[in-house]
Every structure is written in structure tokens, then in C-alpha cells.
Symmetry: C2
Subunit: 191 residues, 2 copies
């Protein structure tokens, strides 16, 4: 399926949209190919774009004081990715975004999101619902990181997002789950 069809399908999971409106909406986006390991956003740059993944996989990660990477999010097809914090506060980003697999993405400038939302109220609604859902999922995740032992966090991922385990190297999964690759490896041996 081509990029724009994926986008449209994604939008229509939450709001209805006419052919005419969609073609105008689509024109706000630009398409980009991103090779594996290439950066979409570097730490220190200001994030001013929102990405929709049509194909491949992105990750966002931060770096702690000792230089260790921590995966914040992993985005497969149909996921949205950005550093909202950097954008909302207009500050240099503390996180970086790169491609775990070769990726096709659609990009839209944040300022254009605001403009587009004023032009198309249904897009305002779409983004509200999108962010609500992402927010609630993230709250669940905090809870899981804080209240579950490493093994249970892995089991939950296995149950809820098995596709990640089939595609994404375990070093990234481990970091996403908040543990070392060594710990994850030992846990997998026991399960």
C-alpha cells in the first residue's frame, strides 16, 4: 500500500474525511526515505516535525550522563513519532530519532499541524484522539516499568506486541523495557 493510502486509513480509524479534504490534507505532508541507522532528529536539534511511519521502523532514544542510550519509543508502520517535548517547549531535543529498519515516512511541520487543524476541524479531533490514546498507553507503560519486575515486563510485551520481538533486535527491546540485553537474554532463557 502506498504512503498516502496508509495515512488516510490511519486518519479514518478516528474521523471521516472526504476525497477532496484528504488531498488538501495530504499536501501538508512531505515524503522521505530514511536508511537504517540514519538520523531523523539529533540530540540538541529542535524538533519541528511530526513523522508518520508508512514502512519500516523508527526508534527514539535518550542518552544518560554516562553515554548509555535509552530507547523511549519504537514506531512500526502506522505509528506517529516525534519529540513533542522539544516542540512544545521550543527547546533543543534531549532525544534522538533514527531508523531501526529502512523506512518510508511522511513528515509534517508542527506549525502546519496547527494550521491544518484550524482549516479542518476533523483533523483537530483526530489529533486529540491520537494523542489521548498515546498518552493513556504511556501511563500504562510507566506503571509497568515502576511496578513490575523485569520478567513480567517482558511477558507483557510478548503478549501485547509480539511483532516487535519478531522484527526488532533485542538490544533495542531490552532498552525499551528498561533492562540490559544481558538481563533480557537470561529472562528469555527461563520463559
Amino acid at each position: 500500500m502506498d504512503c498516502l493510502s496508509r495515512l488516510r486509513k490511519n486518519i479514518e480509524t478516528k474521523v471521516a474525511i472526504s476525497d477532496e479534504d484528504f488531498s488538501k490534507i495530504a499536501s501538508y505532508f512531505r515524503r522521505q526515505h530514511l536508511k537504517k541507522k540514519k538520523d531523523l532528529l539529533r540530540i540538541g536539534d529542535t524538533c519541528d516535525e511530526l513523522a508518520f511511519v508508512c514502512k519500516g521502523a523508527l526508534r527514539s532514544y535518550s542518552m544518560d550522563a554516562r553515554g548509555v542510550e535509552h530507547v523511549v519509543q519504537i514506531a512500526l508502520e502506522d505509528y506517529w513519532m516525534a519529540d513533542l517535548y522539544s516542540y512544545l517547549n521550543n527547546t533543543p531535543s534531549n532525544i534522538a530519532i533514527d531508523a531501526i529498519e529502512d523506512a518510508e515516512i511522511l513528515l509534517i511541520k508542527y506549525n502546519d499541524v496547527d494550521t491544518m487543524c484550524l482549516e479542518f476541524p476533523s483533523m483537530e479531533r483526530f489529533f486529540r484522539k491520537l494523542v489521548e490514546k498515546a498518552y493513556s498507553a504511556t501511563l500504562q507503560r510507566i506503571n509497568s516499568v515502576k511496578s513490575l519486575p523485569a520478567e513480567d515486563r517482558y511477558k507483557n510485551l510478548l503478549k501485547n506486541q509480539p511483532e516487535l520481538l519478531q522484527r526488532i533486535p533485542l538490544i533495542y527491546i531490552a532498552s525499551y523495557l528498561g533492562m540490559t540485553p544481558e538481563s533480557l537474554s537470561r529472562i528469555r532463557k527461563n520463559v
Copy 2:
């Protein structure tokens, strides 16, 4: 300041609103007093309301398999609180909400949020921006829980939300920070 003025001020940090519109918007909310320790939402109930805190403090918490409580969020004045997950998925809630201090709150049914947003596009925009901000803060928090040792998490809270430490019992703070009260106590002795 009375409840509705607080609400209006909160909304106007993000969007402009006329007197006439605000009085209609206000009519969607109902006011409630909540005594310390009393529940707003119990685990297992379905959450269908969103709360705005005018006075006092609420917390949301989950319970793990061993019966240990884990504080998810603490909401002081001008914060919004709900179990979005329960609402969005229309499932019984895994979290409970109660009052840490006697509280005055404004409540709105989620269905009314949707209706109100259709009637007032600026409210749709308000909620989008509100949730965006909460979402980005939560992503930061995941990062902090995962990548910082307990002592640094405490120091960050001390820097960013010192008002919590002045008002909220340390047992809740400890749980919010993802550590035991004993650990927090030892950390505070060293700092």
C-alpha cells in the same frame, strides 16, 4: 478564587474564549467536594468522567499482584485527572483515584467532552494541547524512571515540583517516584 474562575483561567492559558461561550461550557461541568481519603474512582469501575482540581490534591494509583499500591499521578490545583485508559477502551479501570487532601473538583462526562468539543472548536483545540503537554511530560517521566537512579529522580522532583514535597506525604511521593518509602527516607538523609 472560585472553581469556575480557575477553570476559565486554565482554559485561557491555551485558547481564547468569550464570556458567553464560557458560561455554556461551564454548564457542562458539575461541582463536587471530595473529603480526604475518599474515592473518586474505584478499581473495577469504569471511568466516564474527567476531573479538574480547583482545590486540594488527588492521586491515581494502581495495585500490583501483591496488593502494593503504585501512585501513577498526583494532581494539585489546576491539574486534570482521569483514567483515560478505562474510558478510551471502555473497560473497568485498573487504577483508583482518591483525595490526598480535601478537594474541590469540577467533573465533566467524557461523552460531554466530545459533544462540547464539537460545539466549541476552541475546546477541541484546548484539549488537544492539554493532552499533548501531559503526554510529553509523561514521556519524560518514563525516561527518568528508566534511566536515572533513585537519588537523581528525587533530586529532579525537588527541582521541578518542590510544592509536592511541601504538601504531599512522602509515602505517596516515594511511590510516585517508583521507590519504597524506606529508600526515599535514606536518600533524603544524604541530600
